[in-house]
Point group: C2
């Protein structure tokens, strides 16, 4: 088949993925319908099931893709940071954009929840989280933090928790959280 038609096809597919990311955040994972997706993407309703095997398949692809991109961004942030305290500050500053009610935050939390009800999604999300945790642990270990694996796990969870709470408590800013959360990072010499 032709370049142009195939290209338009790819573009439609990508627009559906983008619409899915928006709508999962706006309405919630299980409240997204095929017709809503088509309208948001500006395409005919039938196209959803042409490009994707099912509605869950589209939602899963959209969510997993977004999570992979986010982990990649955090990975770059790690490479640029010098000290652990600086890393935490940059991480929280980057998080400042996410009010907890922004599309990306909500998409992530929705995906966590949906993953508890879908085996394929759970495996994919779990893999991504483990990947991030391991990268974070390696970085922490290389910068003198004791118990890097457990610290990385708790730090990742705490940050997600802050985003979750921030949706309801807007005063939970990076500036507020950073000094407290820094207590998690203990160097080898210190004693907790």
């Amino acid at each position: 088949m032709a370049r142009t038609a195939a290209e338009r096809g790819r573009e439609v597919r990508q627009q559906l993925v983008g619409a899915a990311r928006e709508l999962i955040a706006e309405r919630g994972w299980s409240a997204v319908s095929t017709r809503m997706l088509a309208e948001r993407a500006g395409v005919a309703p039938g196209l959803v099931h042409y490009h994707f095997a099912s509605l869950p398949a589209l939602l899963t692809e959209a969510a997993i893709g977004a999570m992979r991109s986010a982990v990649e961004e955090i990975g770059q942030l790690l490479d640029q940071a010098g000290t652990p305290a600086q890393m935490l500050d940059r991480m929280l500053t980057a998080l400042e954009v996410h009010t907890g009610r922004d599309p990306l935050s909500l998409l992530f939390t929705e995906t966590y929840l949906a993953a508890t009800r879908d085996d394929d999604l759970r495996a994919a999300v779990s893999g991504i989280v483990v990947d991030l945790r391991d990268r974070l642990a390696r970085w922490l270990g290389g910068h003198g933090i004791s118990e890097p694996e457990r610290t990385a796990a708790v730090l990742a969870a705490a940050i997600d928790g802050v985003v979750l709470h921030r949706a309801l408590q807007p005063d939970l800013t990076a500036r507020t959280v950073a000094p407290i959360l820094r207590g998690i990072l203990r160097t080898e010499g210190e004693r907790g």
Copy 2:
């Protein structure tokens, strides 16, 4: 009206609330239907709209009630704990029951998300979280912890984050988390 009939009515209403708590956790907030609720509660479908103004009203009452009970339990836990470290241990031990995929954990996270899309629910949830945060802050302040308000906010968020992550990472046990999270608790003398 009679005692017995009124009592049976109250009982039916309570069974619907209980069914709502189960089903929100199992299927997700927006995937709970009136017919599912009636079947789970063992009552006729029409009763849902006899006892409750709407489906969201039932879900909201169920979720808010569960959250209030949980906060009350944590309050009692605070009264019984001696030192901050002991309090954290007891809190995490109590949390051990919640695998992150248990009904209560999922109900809470579903409620957080639903609250971002419903003003009434958001106001109610926000009030409960603030209440818990304040009680925790008062306790921390009274036990020599510096910056009790911010510490309480971060601690509450971190614990919710751990529960969220535990749904996908079962190895995130209380034993693993406690020593790291303890770093958040700094006494007045210490320097972060």
